[in-house]
Amino acid sequence: MIDKRVASTADAVEGVRDGDTVMIGGFGRAGQPVELIDALIEQGASELTIVNNNAGNGDHGLAALLDRGRVRKIICSFPRQSDSWVFDRLYRAGELELELVPQGNLAERIRAAGAGIGGFYTPTGVGTTLAEGKETREFDGRTHALELPIHADFALVSAYRADRWGNLVYRETARNFGPIMCTAARTTVVQVDAVVELGDLDPEAVVTPGLFVDRVVETGERRWLRDGAFVGGVDLAGSPLVPDEPSDEEDAA
């Protein structure tokens, strides 16, 4: 019998070691495995390399992990946001290494790791500082850069429903990096709002087949889904909490 359910988030993150590479799902706060990150903070592993699209918001979740000094390096596409003060401070103090990757290359590198691809050629980033030093090559008259897969020791992912085999479905844009991160880690840990009976998920609609998942923990209904208290980067009026992009020091529009 296959039963990937574990009883607690503490059990779910058991075994993360100092120096591990940990992928964390989510785009902004949608799909961020909040409870698993909290458990990872409790668990205590340090010197981590984190793979996430962003580099933490506010004082919670990934930001709190950074704040505890547990992270050596971040691989991400969009670290700086209006509420990324924890990252900003550590980065400016030289206490955090940053590997900045264009978002699509980040996704494709994660997918490549899960798919057993040794490397691939992408046109994204060619001619920019982010492709400096990378090997380039022409295909069909267009210059491409060689990109390598990003493997992880652990992936922490938030999904919507799971069964005991680890089959997953997601909810709306909270899907984002989850399905590919599930494929790219040695141990994939998933938190879901609810576990359903085997056979309840439509085989045509399963997004992550169970073979990619090692542990499932049910974290229950998210209150903020109902009461709108946790609305990603927007306030209740829909105004962004993050500045327009690009808006580094100059107005890009």
Binding site: P123, F177, G232, V234
Partner: protein, 230 residues
């Protein structure tokens, strides 16, 4: 003398160029305004790179769904015909050339179509690129929506970008508050001016030898201004 149009009018001008049925990604920031001016009755499918096609308008205040956001992390809705997918599939759509149009902001655009919109490269600045580089090279057609001048009055249309590039030779058209410019093998061509702006004035503002490709009274622009006023 009117020599500029405002952002809403500019967004409407851009929207008027978008064909029925187009698959469009609107970069975060000012380009998202274009969504509010899409032609009535047309079906234009909005792509958001965090994993959705068929993005709808902002939700009613009481109906926010934290799982349903756009690339700017703003709450959005879906329209009938929408679909969700993961990040690798979403950027495959871009990189594979399946988007018809992408509208981006810019720090600078060079006369060869190079785009700089992700970093000023300033000392101590923290770089953040997001999907900008993927969008810049991915869509079938990449256009820029921007003020012609920076706050300090410098032209964003330049001979060569001074800021770090987002993409090389990727921009085909630049919509500014003063005029619309096409990137051509001969450099920027003015295809339309707004208000009383003249091509000579634009040459003075940009310091570039612009080609005059305007066609007399620029009826499209007038029409658009009226529409945006209505």
């Amino acid at each position: 003398m009117t020599t500029r149009i405002d952002r809403n009018a500019l967004a409407a001008r851009i929207a008027a160029d978008i064909e029925d049925g187009a698959i469009v990604n609107l970069g975060i920031g000012a380009p998202t305004l274009v969504a509010e001016h899409l032609p009535e009755g047309a079906e234009i499918i909005l792509h958001t790179e965090n994993g959705m096609l068929g993005m709808g308008a902002a939700p009613r205040p009481g109906a926010l769904d934290p799982d349903l956001i756009n690339a700017g992390k703003q709450a959005v809705t879906t329209v009938a015909g929408a679909s969700f997918f993961h990040h690798a599939d979403s950027f495959a759509m871009m990189r594979g050339g399946h988007l018809d149009l992408c509208v981006l902001g810019a720090y600078q655009v060079s006369q060869e179509g190079d785009l700089a919109n992700w970093s000023t490269g300033g000392e101590g600045s923290i770089p953040s690129v997001g999907g900008a580089m993927d969008l810049a090279i991915g869509a079938k057609r990449v256009v820029v929506m921007t003020d012609l001048l920076t706050r300090s009055g410098e032209s964003k249309l330049v001979a060569e970008c001074a800021y770090p590039l987002t993409g090389v030779g990727c921009v085909s058209r630049v919509y500014t508050d003063h005029a619309v410019f096409d990137v051509t093998p001969e450099g920027f061509a003015v295809v339309e001016t707004f208000g009383d702006t003249t091509v000579d004035e634009l040459r003075a503002l940009t310091g570039l030898a612009l080609t005059d490709a305007t066609t007399g009274t620029a009826p499209a622009a007038e029409q658009t201004l009226e529409r945006s006023a209505g």
